[in-house]
Symmetry: D2
Subunit: 349 residues, 4 copies
């Protein structure tokens, strides 16, 4: 059973619902974020009048049965689509958010140059990897906390909030001190302990789809985060694995409307990792915005030829300007606006 | 070796190139269509001065070595992208062509109603299946030649040229008498005898990608058509088979720019068969136009609930109007125009 | 509804069942072969007592409702597994049949040498392609009828019945004059007209699974053959298309027991085309026999380095001897025998 | 560069090789286990005579360049196939090891009953999950350390060493106190921190292939373990994700010989999770042993209908006895023996 609280529900009201359900043997998972408070109640032995009484509790907006295992992130209780805010920058319905930055933080100079490129082109969130998951143990594994410090400096200079990947549960708190949004990479979509650790930081989470995850499994991974209390989740489609060799992955463009129909969470697209080719980033970005994605996240590099990872897909400065224009034009064609730079207001102390 | 002739090359000029190559042991494949004449020369024993002499023959525009097995449809000799005309309606760069119609011709009434819907919404080519390839031998197999007669009547009434599928080589000539463009379905992409038979009718060919064909295999299938003499080929991406169960197929949106980069042929998208769901046709159409597709082909039905095949994906009249608007708006965002109805001019007697 | 006739049912008895069903508006498909006569009745308006009366008709062994669309090839009416005979050589339960031969008939010498290799190693059916489906229009397309003549000579010399592929419906009769079993290749699994044409020759049919066909689609393709009257069908698993690049296809070994459970038809495996590598043919053959396949079909060549197609997977003479021993040893471990050479008896005039 | 030490190389000898390489700017990764000591040297600036001098160092058996990124687990320096010992039970060439046990440790009674079933049937290693990775946050997540205690009791009673899965790096040490072999599940194949943590316990590691991992990525995951010092790795093929719906995954049977050719590590098969169906476990086990797998790992349950996870694939007592016989018979057909119970000798204090 899913309980949707009113927008301004108090903790006391939530506690009362929890107590009501637990008294009847139920187990309750409370998730907050994206402007809502939702409770998933499981295994409650409800008497004939209990659902009516639950509905009448103060602060309760709606009560609905759930048929989906991913109750908290589903749209089953008539949930409208969510807007997640990243240090004041919205991701969600009505807007298209451009996230850009280097695949990996390699050095202070490279990262600051990349951040300025992102800012100038009109991106409103900066991406950048300090901890890098690499297929080979011998590949560059990222710069770690030193990279986080650089990202924080880039954020201070440009005013762009930062999203960066977390690889280990024990790093979640540390990364949350530096970054505004924490990313779960495709390889870790079902690293359940990591999902919970990241959720508990309270920071918004960018959840990439696993490379062979069904949409249902992706939403269940989001449910792990939600059931640990955190509803500030943004889904990211980044391509799935198929037999076609001309692209690194096959961008599953249909996954955007399908996930938006099944879940209230925002859905963005990563055209850089999907195609793995610079020349495809622009057309795939257009497709993503046109299909209704709530944003795109792209790789850029001041000097792609020198990039320590994924240089083949990194955009240059002129590429990024053209891409930002394409985002604006396509967003307009589908009745959306892009997030204005002027709307930026870092909410971190 | 690839020989590109000038646009107004005469038969005599072509014959002279063929003779030149055959004299040196070469085998020559001449392909015409989409405003060009191209010759693939294979196995020629060329002397040191022969390439220069070939280049100097009257009517020869360019000579280039080929590294791709799909030489005639490749862009290797610097070929610009092609425009294919279907009874005067262009498919190719600069425009976005909307093809619409019923999955199957079921009856005169249903087909005429569907054709009027297509025409009114602004589609400029009518699709409709008289011969239906069905997974089960017991499923409705189409109305055959009776269906062709109905399609011809719909064409006469609406002025829309017709594209319809051919299943058997021996039917190609008959279908070509009734239809303006012949379709090769996904299941038949490697039915090589059918490819040749359809090519030889001289009609433009709509070549759907096989459900697990690589892009290279798709272009080689097009090369079968081209090497049989016919370059009036339009490629159609219609989704590939993957593990994801929420959609019937996974629309490989990246295949559009990739195929356009490798081949000069126009590429359109079939969002109806890709998703298999009515609610996905509109967003996938937007994605297709935004990514740069030269057109879309969609299923519609005056009464989808009564459709004898694929009713779950057929658009209704209001759906189609909305889709046509979306095509126009998205085309405009990517700097293209849609084909105007007024441009229609049936070239068939 | 599925009607299983007794083994020695007469034509008159079959006709009476057909008349009974047609009188009640039913459409009847009669399939014969593999020692059985089965009728699929569709759309019969059966009165309350009609099923009992149908069951009581002379020659009727069993009547069962069907839930599967592939009724004739299913095991629904309690059908035991079938044995198909190819000119006297059995394929089916209890035995393991080794089919071997060159991928393509290239010349008389090569084919006769290959046939002798097959015979000496203990293979009991000779494979060899006269018509070759090739991805590229410029690749070697087979020797056609000249190849059929060579195959017939190889058959006369070695006593081995011949299986060869048919690519076009109009060739089915001709191929059936020369060969004992007709093969439908993976690319043509859903070339429905070809399925019907091959079925009508009355020859046993080897039906390869399409490279991305589900098992259900494969059985429905078999149902096309059966519903055209011919139950002498052998299914062949030859690998499906996946993301894994070290093998040409991924042998779906589970498909063997799954298909045998859903259908009464024999199932064999093609380890040569599945892996596309000579070094994998032996272990995959062992796996195939161990999993319960009713036979294997392998490529061989007297001189693989000179092969005009698929030389990389062709076995040499010593390879084949080792493989035949492995077939015998593994068959014995799973309680089966291999077909003895001495059992060969060409039944063709 | 790969340096293979002699079997009885001393620490001093290894240290001297390390010093030699580091003096020349190389980075050295030392891996031990499976009866060998191997060093991967990367980035060494070797003078003209250095390779000869390296080869002449005491304890060095062979020096070879490496072309594979997964150097330590590759067969490049002419490495024979490895035998890994799990508390005295061998897994590797010559033998076939049967690992059996419940998917999850649910209770003391269920686990002890399952362990006795395993022992009686002739299995020589006990599997059982205390920590369960589940797609849904609301599914049974395992019994944790309480489950480890139960597994230890089952081990004490039956004498069977235990393999169990680790989900979190911080649990690796604890699990290693109770279990003889640590399992990395398919979802965690690229959880690199977990790979390193498990490696550092020194326990043998069972590394399952990710559900859409290529064989190369699987070997690189093994290289993570090896480069953290531990060569006692057993690879486990458990099916990959494809479009085919009749089985939970598609067992990639070819992956066994391919991985054995590329790597010296033993490769076993999990037919239970591959098919997800009880009726397929027996035929897939036969296929696995026949193809050359070094063992199989199967699910069993004293009462499958009551199982808290994967009951549909769990074997019952009679199933397991039949399976063990099939393992013996098939092993014999491919010239291998199964590991005798009498060889069991728990090596843990």
């Amino acid at each position: 059973m899913l309980v949707q609280m009113v927008t301004d529900a108090t903790d006391t009201q939530v506690d009362r619902v929890v107590a009501f359900a637990e008294d009847r043997g139920g187990q309750v998972f409370v998730a907050q974020g994206a402007g809502r408070v939702v409770l998933a109640v499981r295994g409650m032995h409800a008497g004939p009048d209990d659902e009516r009484r639950l509905r009448a509790l103060p602060g309760v907006a709606a009560v609905a049965p759930t048929s989906r295992e991913y109750a908290l992130v589903s749209r089953e209780a008539g949930a409208p689509r969510s807007r997640v805010e990243v240090a004041g920058v919205p991701i969600g319905p009505g807007t298209v958010t451009l996230i850009a930055g280097p695949c990996a933080v390699e050095s202070r100079e490279q990262t600051l140059a990349a951040a300025r490129m992102a800012r100038e082109a009109g991106a409103t969130i900066l991406r950048g990897g300090a901890y890098k998951p690499r297929t080979s143990p011998y590949a560059f594994q990222g710069t770690g906390e030193a990279g986080l410090v650089i990202l924080a400096e880039a954020r201070a200079e440009t005013g762009l909030p930062v999203v960066t990947e977390v690889l280990r549960p024990q790093d979640a708190e540390l990364v949350a001190e530096y970054a505004d949004m924490l990313q779960i990479g495709a390889r870790n979509m079902q690293n359940f302990d990591l999902l919970r650790a990241v959720a508990r930081t309270g920071r918004p989470v960018l959840l990439k789809r696993g490379m062979s995850a069904t949409i249902e499994e992706w939403l269940l991974a989001a449910e792990y985060i939600a059931s640990a209390g955190n509803l500030n989740i943004v889904l990211c489609e980044r391509g799935i694995r198929t037999f076609e060799p001309t692209t690194r992955n096959t961008l599953d463009i249909s996954a955007v409307p399908v996930a938006q129909q099944l879940s209230h969470l925002p859905v963005i697209v990563d055209p850089s990792h999907a195609g793995g080719r610079r020349d495809l980033v622009l057309p795939l970005t257009r497709a993503a915005v046109a299909v209704g994605a709530d944003g795109v996240i792209v790789d850029l590099h001041p000097a792609p030829a020198e990039a320590r990872c994924d240089g083949a897909q990194a955009l240059t400065h002129p590429d990024l300007d053209e891409l930002a224009r394409a985002v604006r034009d396509t967003a307009s064609a589908v009745g959306r606006t892009t997030v204005e730079e002027t709307s930026l207001a870092l909410s971190l102390a």
